[in-house]
Symmetry: C2
Subunit: 337 residues, 2 copies
């Protein structure tokens, strides 16, 4: 089970997870998009070699061409690989046993190091990712330019090659209608807002991924400080909005949350989209003590396990959308009742 | 507690209650609408006198001018008096301890005898009403015409003065969309369809009151046979529709019913209209064994106790609609959890 899903972290009532991603490339090697099969394999071997002593013990290697589509999708749903890597046949992923570290090989760049932790711990995630980065750099020659920094396939990643992000749950800001203005402000100060599965994905269940837009210019620490600071400000705004709702509309809020709680435990058919909406309500309910005896980690587990691939894995076969919606309701009931 | 609400009767899965109402008037006395106060009182005294030995033991008398508005509304919500009598100051009601018999005095007619039983027992209700009618006729002179029969204030009641009705729950016919055609057919063969509280009231919670339109011409037995026969045919159609839904859309039906079941036990605010809708779903759920361990009488009690006056009585004060919706949810939870 993924570390950020089941473990607790600071400010976990609002921040689901913090993530650092570093983009790195090997010197004198074409970017993955231009690689021939043999060259791709060589890149995978190079990145694998520093893990020689820890592979199959602390880390596992997944070659995309040898991994079941269903297993790849499960890694995707657990935020351990990207949807681009799922489609790739020449890529690979090296993932730590506790699901905190994942290194994608031959995605957009040769190497994408990710560290993901529960709650607001961007700096801690950075330390973990930086440790892996240093370990790799000892054995590999990175494509690095004195003036530009780390070179990347897409120019938007050049420099630090870093994306620092937090995944925040903002139901009260949405209910009070302040969310639009806040997201606009965040964008204006150079950060980006994305959905649960990164770039171009829909915003579901009031979950927003806040991350830096700029990688070239500021130092890693500056990027982290900025993302961290903005996340803290948004947390503050969300807490204010939760208090406003509690003070002015407590019974309406309780009604909304408890209805979702009733539906979640009783429905026989739940679409993925409705599930995210209901989970958002009960996540808020747990924080406000309207729902008792339920842990955030159970909510996280349901959120991850009820994605399509998770359900297919549970059913041990490919499923139609209709059957998926029925099984989703069944899995939720097993977790909650 | 009213007999039909808590007791079981034949075909109770579909028929809530059967009712007979007889309209009678006193000879040589103006209809209530033309009566002066002293004359009204005399009518009440006349109707009261046959109950001299049973009053305050098997029957209770409610003089409308001495009864709290709230108590009158509760009698209305329990189907023991009409909304016209609630408004009256010169009327009265004599109601049996078990709430099966009620005699309204100075409503539209001098006397309105009602017998109401659980399930489909129109003939049994008729026997009870007829017994009261005979007892009264021994001591009172009715306005009766050899050719026309019993004379009534409104010509639509002349003849037998009888309305025979059944209250049926038809959710499956509504879901399958057949209800419109069936109601149309019922109307074409001389019966009337009304809502829960009689003439001009809204149809709520899939509850339909089927009753005879014609009182002059056919005998009492013919009216009863006809209403009974049509009710049986509608029961048959509703059972067919329930089977169709179970066979073709079981999971969707279970989902609908269990969502309502979840909302009913968890919501903090429930309007009267939503309550009727949710109760309709769980009433169907109990019949189809989708909801277990819940009795029809609990559903009936909730349906009656969550009307506005019932809630005010519970709260021991007059309430705003908003507070009413909150208390309704509370009462339901107490009954169900």
């Amino acid at each position: 089970m993924s570390g950020w899903i089941t473990e607790k972290g600071p400010q976990n009532e609002i921040v689901l997870s913090s993530r650092i991603r570093l983009a790195r490339n090997l010197k004198d090697t074409p970017f993955p998009i231009y690689l021939k099969e043999a060259q791709s394999d060589k890149v995978v071997d190079s990145v694998k070699s520093p893990f020689a002593n820890t592979l199959n013990r602390d880390y596992y290697l997944y070659n995309m061409d040898k991994t079941d589509l269903l297993d790849k999708q499960i890694l995707l749903e657990r935020h351990l690989i990207s949807k681009e890597l799922v489609k790739s046949n020449s890529g690979a992923a090296i993932i730590s046993k506790d699901d905190i570290i994942s290194i994608m090989v031959n995605e957009e760049d040769h190497i994408r190091i990710q560290a993901i932790l529960p709650g607001l711990q961007i700096m801690e995630a950075w330390k973990l990712a930086d440790g892996i980065d240093n370990m790799l750099e000892e054995q590999l020659d990175y494509a690095y330019d004195e003036k530009l920094g780390y070179l990347t396939c897409c120019p938007t990643n050049v420099g630090t090659g870093m994306r620092a992000s937090s995944m925040v749950h903002l139901p009260a800001l949405n209910l009070t209608g302040s969310i639009g203005k806040i997201l606009q402000t965040v964008t204006q100060i150079g950060l980006t807002i994305r959905g649960l599965y990164g770039e171009g994905t829909e915003i579901l269940g009031n979950l927003f991924q806040i991350s830096n837009q700029i990688t070239l210019g500021p130092t890693e620490e500056e990027i982290i400080d900025n993302t961290n600071g903005v996340t803290n400000q948004i947390i503050e705004k969300e807490r204010e909005a939760r208090n406003i709702l509690l003070n002015s509309n407590r019974i309406q809020l309780e009604d909304k949350i408890l209805r979702s709680w009733g539906i979640l435990r009783n429905a026989k058919i739940i679409t993925s989209q409705e599930c995210m909406k209901l989970l958002s309500d009960i996540r808020l309910g747990v924080d406000l003590d309207i729902i008792k005896g339920l842990s955030i980690s159970t909510i996280n587990e349901i959120m991850i396990d009820t994605q399509s691939a998770g359900i297919s894995k549970y059913a041990k076969k490919e499923l139609t959308a209709e059957v998926c919606d029925i099984l989703r309701a069944q899995i939720i009931k097993e977790k909650l009742c």
